[in-house]
Amino acid sequence: MMPLGLSAAELALVGATFLASAVEIVEAYTIVLAMGLTRGWRSTAAGAVAALALLAVLTVVAGYTILRLIPPSLLQLVIGTLLLIFGLQWLRKAILRSAGRKALHDEDAIFVTEVEAAQAAPVRTLFGLDWFAFVVAFKGVLLEGLEVVVIVLTFGITADNIPLAAVGALLAIVPVTILVILVRGPLSRVPENSIKYVVGLLLTTFGTFWAIEGLGLFATGSESLEWPTGDLAIAIVLLGWIVVSRILISALRDRDSPLAEAEVAP
């Protein structure tokens, strides 16, 4: 029996959206913290809340529109392809960072840059808000959240459960917020690259499975293509991508690089 009565597929759905959301929230908090501590919390919080509201509306409207306008057979192919491209991008960056060929996402450095920009910008009030703090917080949360919306929609639509996918993403807000309150600064010690590696593997695996199944759209009868072992193929595909990524990390590792001490994926 799975926890909370969820099936294995539903747990994977919640886990993937939770992890993807957690990483993006950590990045968004760096910007929000820099604005809040430098320019005040009222305008910063207003910008962040406005962006969250827009993201919620986007999720509902886009989800509803996609489900109504795109036939199910085409949906599987389109969503699988989008997820696959997204997942491979995440995986590529995680592999390059683990191999020491790309600098890690440095939350401390980003925080310092944002604080300097906030201190240098003149104060301009609009609708009673510090416009600079509002816009920077709004853009930061919106851009980081957009990736989460795509992941929630793609996973949610394919699993036929957008609300559960959204719950996974929203749940991530709680632990990250608690950590931010405890640390009172940017979360530079969160193993972002390891989380991105895991999320990249999950997105790539499900993207591979669904995109290839969706090619059945072009077959006579337009039925999904069958993987040799049915749904068990998801585990095989996951294992395949894990092996490929480990080989690539090992082959690409640059021991002379100043980034050689980079955080290695789990």
Partner: protein, 69 residues
């Protein structure tokens, strides 16, 4: 016009990212898969062949880049 260009640049960077070869490779492999399926090769073995194709279009550019640098 500037806003339109910025709009398309945003979505290009959002979906395609900083290595266009990933998106091009994925679309290429799936296009071949679509042609094979259309031609009647909708066998389970095709799924594994396409999976191998996706691995190749992802791994080969990464390895080629590392050789050059």
């Amino acid at each position: 016009m500037r806003y339109l260009a910025a709009f398309f640049r945003f979505w290009y960077e959002f979906i395609v990212g900083d290595d266009w070869r990933i998106a091009a490779g994925v679309v290429g492999v799936l296009a071949i898969g679509a042609l094979a399926t259309r031609a009647g090769y909708a066998e389970p073995a095709l799924t594994l062949t396409l999976f191998a194709g996706l691995v190749a279009v992802f791994a080969l550019p990464l390895l080629a880049d590392s050789r050059r640098s």
